[in-house]
């Protein structure tokens, strides 16, 4: 554990470098300790991301040295497929970039749909907007570059690809990802507990429904 590379973020955070496959186990371990009361008082947030995890702290209640020691001494938790929850998201493959994605991948549209639904994705981290999850673990043939020029408005429920990620827009917003379909799933609802459908570690299976 002591080989973790840590960076201080002023007096308010500790940033932990991690490989893309190590972020979720790191988050799972720290999150479990945090929710069980095993973190220093004053740890406010854990923010998993692409290749790092940020621990945000309240400098009035703890400090970066104590939080760094806690991070170094808390073991990761291997991600166990059998024990992680899974949601199924129904998707209409009607996105305006679907043909372009197929052409980029050298597949037919039907093959893109098959590849996208064949195996479950996993929420690696969130961000961009409340309820937006960066999904990984899909068919590598579906990796596509972002649009050169982002769209001014992407509708809520748009399912889109960029790089190795798949994401679903929780609400209308600008966006540069390639849209392959749409869903009626509610990604974000402040009156629901938890408000976000997607949370780090969750498995997401896409199911094709009629246009």
């Amino acid at each position: 554990m002591t080989d973790r590379r840590l960076h201080v973020c002023g007096d308010v955070g500790v940033l932990v470098d991690a490989g893309p496959d190590d972020v979720l186990p790191l988050h799972a371990g720290l999150h479990r300790a945090w929710t069980a009361g095993g973190a220093p008082d004053g740890v406010l947030d854990l923010v998993p991301a692409e290749r790092s995890l940020l621990v945000v702290l309240d400098p009035a209640r703890t400090d970066v040295a104590r939080v760094s020691a806690w991070v170094r001494s808390t073991p990761s938790e291997p991600v166990d497929d059998a024990r992680t929850a899974e949601v199924t998201v129904d998707i209409r493959y009607d996105g305006e970039d679907l043909d372009a994605v197929a052409a980029h991948a050298g597949l037919t549209v039907a093959e893109v749909v098959a590849a996208h639904t064949a195996s479950p994705w996993r929420v690696a981290f969130t961000g961009f907007a409340p309820g937006f999850g960066y999904l990984v673990g899909g068919d590598p043939r579906l990796a596509v570059p972002r649009l050169d020029t982002p769209r001014v408005r992407v509708p809520a429920g748009a399912v889109a690809l960029a790089g190795r990620y798949c994401g679903i827009y929780p609400r209308p917003s600008p966006g540069g990802w390639r849209i392959i379909g749409s869903t009626d799933a509610v990604l974000w609802d402040v009156d629901r507990d938890p408000p976000a459908l997607l949370r780090p570690g969750l498995r997401v299976r896409f199911r094709a429904v009629g246009r």
């Binding site: 973020c9 002023g10 406010l44 947030d45 923010v47 961000g127 409340p130 999850g133 402040v190």
Partner: protein, 300 residues
Amino acid sequence: MSAVVPVLDVVRAGPATTVQDLGRPGLAHLGVTRSGAADRGALRLANRLVGNPEGAAGLEVTLGGLAVRPSADVEVAATGAGCPLAVDGRPVGRNAVVHVRAGQVLTLGTATAGLRCYLAVRGGVAVPPVLGSRSRDTLAGLGPEGLRDGDRLPVGAPPPGPPLVDLAPVTDPRSGEVVLDAVPGPRDDLLPTALVDRLWAVRWSVDPASDRVGVRLALPHDSVQDGADPAAQAGAGSVPSEGMVRGAVQVPPSGLPVLFLADHPVTGGYPVAAVLLDASADRAAQLRPGQPVRLRTVRP
């Protein structure tokens, strides 16, 4: 018999007034930033003055221009930016407990120093919380909408015990050059050296496009040199998306830094060259458009 719940009638909302408390920590892994008062220290002080818990909701009044009329007697305190404060036109003190009687109009004039004034009312502003907080997150659109003329804000039950102090000996936010303390890193090593050196060397100017998401820094006109823009060098660009803190000094490819404030995005894709100390992040929230600012290296 239950006490009458006072209401603050918003006679004039001002250009950008929001309800703020200390935000909604603990949800960043779901994509929700903490938000809350941009100058947390000022909100805490206002609450302490009226005997509230530090995290009670108050009003964040940007640039001033607020007028409210309570329906019952209330005790209030204004802190932060130097907005002239008056009750029915009679000047009253800031950073002090002020008694406003039912029907009187409390006004906050235009700020003469600093940007954000905090108005606490004994009992707190009791609009319904969203995800545990009454803060308006302007980036995500969470929490109560910004104030509008004619709004009616419920006031909560007063806390037990009277306010303990009458006034706080604090100075107004500075008007001239402000120096902010920042710890280098975590990603200054990903930026061209010239860009990082410039960060600490330049006397920056606060861009008018700044908001609750961040203070945007611009180069003052007299320091722009032809062909000497280090941002033009190769190497400035995006990095893997990673968690952001309030006070992060993010340097996008333009080379013009952004100091993240309360409504910063949860994750960002540009290198963070330094992070302001928490106290300096509060002071950054009081910077006015055009104000000169320098960054100074400190150890954590």
